[in-house]
Amino acid sequence: MELTPVLHIGQLHFEYATRPLFRQFDLELGVGVSWLRGDNGAGKTTLLKLAAGALAPHAGVIRLHAAPPGSAGNNDVGGKDSGADVIDSRQSALRYRQLSFYCGGEAPQLPWLTVREFLDLHLALYPHADHALLDAELRAFKLLDTLAQPLTTLSLGQHKKVQLALALALPVRLLLIDEPFNGLDATAMDYLRQQLADTARCARQCIVLTSHLDPQIPLARTLQL
């Protein structure tokens, strides 16, 4: 099947002080779920953060194709950042971030906020987010009771659910999920698999997830780092 690229990473170079992680790294991913595999320390989380714009590459380009699949601009990805639908993570950083979301981390990043404040803040950052959808996701993950609680009082699984509920409700083109199944109960895992396998979602979003477990969902691609 011909790949319809959404995320284009070209000639990526990134290194930590102790070791180089990516050299001349190329990657193109289309819509649907891509499973990123690798040993601990292989660079899975770093790659997600680079693709999210949370880390700046030392060299190379990261571009996102904003147009829905099938539209005219789709064949542009590998070329110059001249078309309106191809967004370079450096040159159009703000627009790039509006279309991508990184969902990861086991500990609350803003531990002084309540769940409601955390959600309000993120919805304000993504003005086209579907509020009703977020309400539905919170209901499905059984999180409505926790809205007034500080993030620090949530369990690992509840914290993961808050992040996932938000991630699933945001109108982003690129969704990067780090270890989505960590800490989830069986019901939540089933629900998450159902959401990630949703054909309508897979037709419009490029979802990249890292997991040491087989996600057990239809995959567009499996990548080994």
Binding site: Q109, L110, L113, E117, L144, A148
Partner: protein
């Protein structure tokens, strides 16, 4: 001996040592500022530290008791202020379920309290030695009782510090949660408009007031202190010379801005990697946060201007309106000079703040003739 102590005791003293080093490092710039500007005054205060305990036996019972109680409270203040650092919440959570005997916990708290009291005891000893060397008339008949009371006040302060630490570590009683609002049955977001202001509130205001963060309280106390100092400077009650209130106002104003800006810088460093992937212009947010850090100082300067206008309108004797205007302008410039350089070294920053305090103190000394 230290090596043969119980591992829990070793752990607690090492934790306290680490926490105290951290406090010293965080206060280094402010302490340098105060020492540079007011070193001689502080030395004088240190020399007088043991005076309340020494003079107490010459007073009537109620006064002596109140004086000793106040001295104990002041000496126990470090334990009160640092208890959250000496017993960090995560360490408490980890250690509570461990099988540590209550006596061992008390020993550890007493040892940590002793670490806090040690430098204070040295200063007390020096201060007492100075008074005994000077041998004033009032001390001669009560010297033994005075020294005994001073030692007693130190021992009581040690006990109070131990109690404060033990209280902090105590397992909270299982209380039934308050019946608040019923749990939400649906989620509807609040509109955060204007977004910039709400971002500042959630990322630079709330963290300073929640959990164990004391920055909000610290800045509020500094602000109140600066406002009170400016108000006292306006009325400059005898016998304290007005220039001293001017110096105190200058010091508190600059420390207020310096500590506030330091907290904003630390929070910015914490947030930078977190919001790197958010669809916002982070540089604008960080600039707003730094600018808002000037608001407390602006409130103090506004208070000063209003008080001086009032003094001028009521023809207060000896007021130099021109000096008031110069002090106000110089103080405003000093605030900008403190927060504007974002890449300056800690030493350079101390230089700016100390220079500003000395300049403002010099100008302020001419306010009331």
């Amino acid at each position: 001996m230290y090596r043969h102590a119980h591992p829990y005791l070793q752990f607690r003293t090492r934790l306290a040592h680490h926490a105290l080093l951290h406090v010293v490092a965080s206060l280094k710039s402010s302490a340098e500022i105060i020492m540079f500007g007011f070193g001689p005054v502080l030395l004088g205060l240190f020399a007088c530290l043991a005076l309340p305990g020494l003079i107490a036996p010459t007073l009537a019972w109620p006064q002596a008791l109140a004086l000793i109680a106040a001295q104990v409270l002041v000496a126990a203040l470090p334990a009160l202020l640092l208890r959250k650092r000496l017993h960090p919440a995560d360490v408490l959570q980890w250690s509570r379920p461990l099988p540590i005997a209550p006596a061992l916990r008390w020993q550890a708290d007493a040892a940590v309290a002793a670490m806090l009291m040690a430098p204070l005891t040295i200063v007390y000893a020096i201060s007492t030695a100075i008074w005994l060397y000077q041998w004033p008339d009032w001390l001669r008949p009560v010297a033994a009782a005075s020294v005994g009371l001073t030692v007693l006040s130190l021992l009581l302060a040690w006990g109070a510090s131990t109690l404060l630490l033990a209280q902090r570590a105590r397992m909270p009683a299982a209380t039934r949660p308050r019946r608040g609002a019923p749990p939400a049955t649906s989620y509807a977001p609040r509109a955060l408009r204007p977004l910039g202001l709400h971002l500042w509130h959630q990322l630079f205001w709330l963290p300073f007031w929640r959990a164990d963060n004391a920055v909000g309280m610290q800045q509020s106390l500094l602000l109140l202190g600066a406002l009170a100092s400016v108000a006292t400077w306006r009325w400059h009650p005898a016998p304290v010379p007005p220039a001293l209130w001017g110096a105190l106002s200058s010091l508190l104003l600059m420390v207020l801005t310096d500590r506030g800006d330091q907290a904003v810088r630390e929070q910015t460093a914490l947030l930078r990697p977190i919001i790197a992937s958010w669809p916002i212009r982070s540089a604008r947010l960080f600039f707003t946060a730094a600018a808002f850090g000037l608001l407390p100082a602006a409130a103090v300067l506004a208070g000063f201007a209003a008080l001086m206008l009032h003094a001028s309108a009521s023809n207060a004797a000896g007021l130099s309106s021109k000096t008031a205007m110069v002090w106000l302008c110089a103080a405003a410039l000093a605030q900008l000079a403190t927060i504007a350089p974002r890449q300056i070294s800690a030493r350079g920053r101390v230089g700016i703040v100390v220079g500003a305090i000395l300049t403002l103190t010099a100008i302020g000394s001419e306010l009331w003739n």
